[in-house]
Structures are given as structure tokens and as C-alpha cells.
Symmetry: C2
Subunit: 188 residues, 2 copies
């Protein structure tokens, strides 16, 4: 367990992901490299695409309360930070090393079938194939600029509601992925 | 040219993409399958993820005027359509068939180097490798629900401004990709 958590980027792993990681690592010739259970974030960047200098005002791997999101946006406003503030929702993601192209393709196809439509082979080096499991479930809403919010709390509530739906959709794909992996492990 | 346009999904190709398609198809062992120059859209869906039943209220492959976006949102409101309305910005995208894994990997690495960070091998079937060239430049903003806009025109302007920046970033990656392809073709 300690070993697994070291391998997980960001250091935050919840139950939904742990059981999937166990299932994948229990398959012959597969080894998980990193993962995220899907998340909602309130994050600011000095300019579009400058992730390196981003500031995270709130991050949640399960749907937070609306008050949490409101309060994160409020902290950004209070600090008068330059740049753009976003409400982001991201799909669950896994990077898995697979021994051989056939195994990699099978995992990728299984992930796509479970709803993770953006899954792909990230790299192929001899027999070492890395598969990225990723869904299309995503939302990126600009909330404000240079320390000023562009939306009021009722509108933020609307974005939060839609964001929760997007997050929930990612979680459903995670559940389906888990069930398909269980079938595979059972000898499917 | 007629043949090329048949191969292009959606049927809309602008100069920026045509020259890239020519460059790729001029390389030995590469053949483009589909492409999009990147776009901004005002689109509604009955529910999250139901692309099949989406309604497109406006679609632009170069930054539209703000009035165009406002007017597209107004048409959605006037029609009182159910479901969620979104302002979407999507990265340029290319699907390219490559003969052999090494060629596929080289194109993918070149695309990543040009800023298309989500590029990957979409499929590998014997010697036929399909590479997807795709950037992280994307925005998904819910604008309204069930025929009612949740934002006013000043806020829509803010989302439009950020969306134009995201679209522009995709175009810059397209330019870099084109330059790298020119170097490759020149015997790099």
C-alpha cells in the first residue's frame, strides 16, 4: 500500500481508484504508473496554458459542497491575484505500462468500451507500451480575471451544478471500467 | 483537391489546415484521414455527453465576431430548447494513418513538440498506425439551461474573450506544427 501511494501522482488516491489500481496490477503484464480519480478544481493561471505557475484555490476528488467552491473563489478575489481563474472538472485518468502491444491495445479497447473515449497508446518502446485511460468528461469555465470574479454566486452555482454532473459522469465510467476489469480478471 | 475535401470530416477546411494536410501527405508513408482547424461553437445537448442529439447554433473555425456568438445564444433562447447550452473551444485535430510504428511515433513526437500535448497513437493494426494530433487547448462553458441563458451579455463577452485566447493558442500550435513538418520534409 505504501509502495502504491508513492507511485500515485499528487498523492491523493480514493477508494474508487485504489480498487481499479489493484485490479490492473493483478493482471499479468500490467503495471500502473499514475492515476487520478477525476476532480473538480478552482485554479488560477497567470495566462492561458501556463500550468507551471498555476495556483490551486480548491481541489476535490469527489463532488464538494457548493460552499467550498464559493469560498475558494472568494479567496482568489480577496487576494487580488493576477491572471485568470477557472472552475475545472477533469476525467479520471490512468497511465498503465503494459508488456507488449497486444496487451496495451486490449486495455485501451476495454477503457474505450467503458466510456473512456480519449484513451490511447501514449508511448511504445520495444515491448513497453504505455496506455493512457482518459474520458471526454471535462469542463473549463473561466470565472474571473485579475482578482475580480466575472460571475455572481447564483451563476457560480449553475457552473457548479453542471460541473457535478460532469464529475459524476466520469465516476460512472470509472465504475464501468472497474466492472469490465473484474470480468477480465475472472478469465474473460 | 476534391478528393481531399471528401476526406475531411465536417467538410470545412481552411488554409491553415490545407497546407498542413499537404505537408503530411507529401511525406512517404503518411496519409491524412480527417482534420479540423480548431473551432469555437455554441452548441446545446439534451444532457451532458449526448453529442448525437446536439444542436449547433454557431460554429467558427476562426475567431468570430462577438455579435455572432451573442446572436447564436439568442437563437437558442428564442427557441426555448431543452437541455444545456455550451460555448466550446476545441483544439485543431488531425488523424493520420502512418505506415509502421516508427513513423507513427515520429509524427506523434513532432506534434507534441509543436505544442499538441494530447497527441497519441489511436490505433495500431499490423503496420497501420493511426496517430491523433491534438492539443490541450480547450474550453467548455455552460451558458444556459432549458432555453434560459444563465449569463448576461457582458459575461458572455468575457467567456468569448477567453475563448478567443484559447482558439488563438491552438492556431499558434498549428503554425509551429507546420514549420516542423516543413523542416522534416526538407530532409530534417
Amino acid at each position: 500500500m505504501a509502495e502504491l501511494s508513492v507511485l500515485v501522482e499528487g498523492g491523493e488516491v480514493d477508494d474508487g481508484v485504489l480498487s481499479v489500481l489493484d485490479l490492473i496490477n493483478g493482471l499479468d503484464g500490467f503495471f500502473t504508473l499514475s492515476s487520478c480519480a477525476g476532480r473538480m478544481q478552482v485554479i488560477s493561471v497567470p495566462e492561458i496554458g501556463d500550468k507551471r505557475n498555476s495556483v490551486v484555490w480548491g481541489k476535490w476528488h469527489r463532488a464538494p459542497g457548493f460552499e467550498d467552491v464559493l469560498s475558494a473563489a472568494g479567496r482568489y478575489e480577496a487576494e487580488g491575484r493576477d491572471g485568470l481563474l477557472f472552475l475545472l472538472v477533469q476525467s479520471p485518468i490512468f497511465h498503465v505500462a503494459c508488456f507488449g502491444l497486444e496487451k496495451g491495445k486490449r486495455l485501451r479497447d476495454l477503457a474505450v468500451g467503458a466510456g473512456f473515449k480519449y484513451s490511447s497508446l501514449k508511448s511504445v518502446r520495444g515491448e513497453r507500451v504505455v496506455v493512457e485511460v482518459l474520458g471526454a468528461d471535462r469542463m473549463d469555465v473561466p470565472l474571473g480575471r485579475d482578482g475580480r470574479l466575472a460571475v455572481d454566486s447564483e451563476q457560480l452555482r449553475f457552473f457548479y451544478d453542471v460541473g457535478c454532473m460532469v464529475l459524476e459522469r466520469g465516476k460512472r465510467h470509472l465504475e464501468r471500467f472497474k466492472r469490465e476489469l473484474e470480468v477480465w480478471r475472472g478469465g474473460g
